[in-house]
Symmetry: C2
């Protein structure tokens, strides 16, 4: 389960839009194809798009490198890992080697996040999560789902409660698929059922990934995350964020300055709305730091934003 | 826009599962067919299923009436209007006349709800709603959507923000369709985007319908309603329930005693989850009275549960 693989000068990208129905690999030989795969969500997940973009830089010919950097960075605006990885590849004399290094580092970070985060999961816990934060999103063990996988391996996790995550159903399609493949007990709910699951006492904690964490700890993640954080607070449940430190953006002061990608309304409209209906489709939302119990990074568990950005 | 019509001994039911794509009428000549239409959500909305069930009683032959009453009541467990309407038809010497009377009364109640509720909508308001509470759900002007329609007619409503309402998308399919037909400006969002819309200041109030209101004011409605109520409270926004008094169940003390219908997990799973995945699919949730700013019935605006059940 890896989102991208490099073979003989080609970046192969597992097309996550087609999962779980079919496993199809896109062969990219230009940076533009990689940018297209990122824009259309063939590859998604903040760490994974950083890795893909770094390999995209390795596909850029000498004279194209500045254009490639700009084009890859612009493919999606919210996840800071994307520009972070592009900058590293751009600054390197050997972008391919840099991309390979970034992929290896992110995988190692996932392992450290999983180990640190598993200590937060009480025995017998039922953990709610949103979107997909596993191997396909990170190129490693995952962030939030990596923590839950490690807790499961330690015999502490009773169940993952996966929010389906409309409009693109990463929870239904990818989290459920990855949990089933890894033998982690998981149950799917519609996003609107999260509040009732908490009220009924079916959930012990919430853990999510992140696309960008501002210097004050405000955290952008998949739309719906903020609502879960408010609900968790209302029910007295801990709400955790798990992300590699590459997701922390010290240059962005607070969540209000994080650009929120507005995607094609058709993603919302196409499964039922009448022709001509209007929709808005923000892909992310921002959870203020005060609703976050702790951030888990490869450096450990951070109970305050000050400790996180230190 | 009417959910059911009686013609020459046949109850014709507009199949709402097929809307907005096509307008197909089911012709029911037995109470069992009516119960099936209610169970499968061909007709839905608490007042509308009460009306349909009363007509279903009119289709029952003399010796079947007790069986018909039990079968229609059991078609869906949460909305109290269903058993209320069935009891009335069962107690009547002329069930058809009783059904016609119930339909007329519910339509009149909708008009009174709309008039009373419109006073709650400030000028220029953007109102969030969930599921569908318009003409097709009530046989009249609607409950929550009736209020918004009246506010729009008075020039006070800037926009309806419709939550799509997974899994069956009554918001996307029916609220958007009805708003477009009535010329009410409406914008669709995924259910997970509700929190961010409030946080961004794009919403001034939330108004929803109800399937059953307990004696203490706790209110069962479409799953996701409770989450909106918690979010509204967190953002200091008013949260209103609009429903006819036939929805109030004085025999149920509080929300914990309201039966919550658990529907087929396939409704959640079928648009993306891997084969063999587990899901839960509660169709309703309960919002505690303390999160409700006011209930609007045909008798006016009730600021307390005591006033509501008086």
């Amino acid at each position: 389960m890896t989102p991208v693989r490099w073979r003989d000068g080609t970046l192969e990208i597992l097309d996550q839009r087609r999962l779980p129905a079919e496993e199809m690999w896109l062969a990219c030989t230009t940076w533009q194809e990689v940018a297209g795969a990122i824009r259309t969500l063939a590859v998604r997940g903040a760490p994974a798009i950083g890795i893909a973009a770094a390999y995209g830089m390795a596909l850029a010919k000498g004279g194209e490198r500045d254009d490639a950097a700009a084009g890859l960075r612009a493919a999606r605006p919210t996840a800071v890992n994307l520009s972070w990885a592009v900058e590293r590849a751009l600054a390197s004399p050997d972008p391919l080697r840099e991309a390979t290094a970034i992929a290896a580092e992110e995988a190692a970070r996932c392992d450290a996040i999983a180990a640190a985060g598993a200590s937060l999961i009480p025995s017998g816990a039922r953990a709610m999560t949103i979107c997909h934060t596993g191997a396909l999103a990170t190129g490693g063990a995952g962030t939030a789902l990596g923590v839950l996988g490690e807790a499961h391996a330690r015999g502490r996790l009773a169940e993952v409660v996966a929010c389906e995550t409309r409009p693109l159903l990463q929870g239904a399609r990818l989290t459920m698929w990855e949990c089933m493949r890894r033998g982690i007990p998981a149950r799917l709910i519609v996003d609107g059922a999260a509040g009732q699951a908490m009220r009924r006492g079916e959930v012990d904690l919430v853990i999510a990934g992140a696309d960008r964490i501002a210097a004050n700890g405000d955290t952008a993640n998949k739309v719906g995350t903020y609502g879960l954080a408010v609900l968790a607070r209302h029910h007295g449940l801990p709400f955790y964020i798990a992300a590699p430190s590459s997701t922390v953006d010290r240059a962005t002061g607070d969540g209000g300055a994080i650009p929120i990608e507005e995607r094609d309304p058709d993603e919302v409209l196409r499964i039922g709305a009448p022709a001509g209906a209007r929709a808005s489709n923000p892909a992310f939302d921002v959870t203020p730091a005060e609703l976050i119990s702790a951030w888990v990074t490869e450096r450990g568990v951070h109970r305050s934003a000050a400790d996180l950005v230190r």
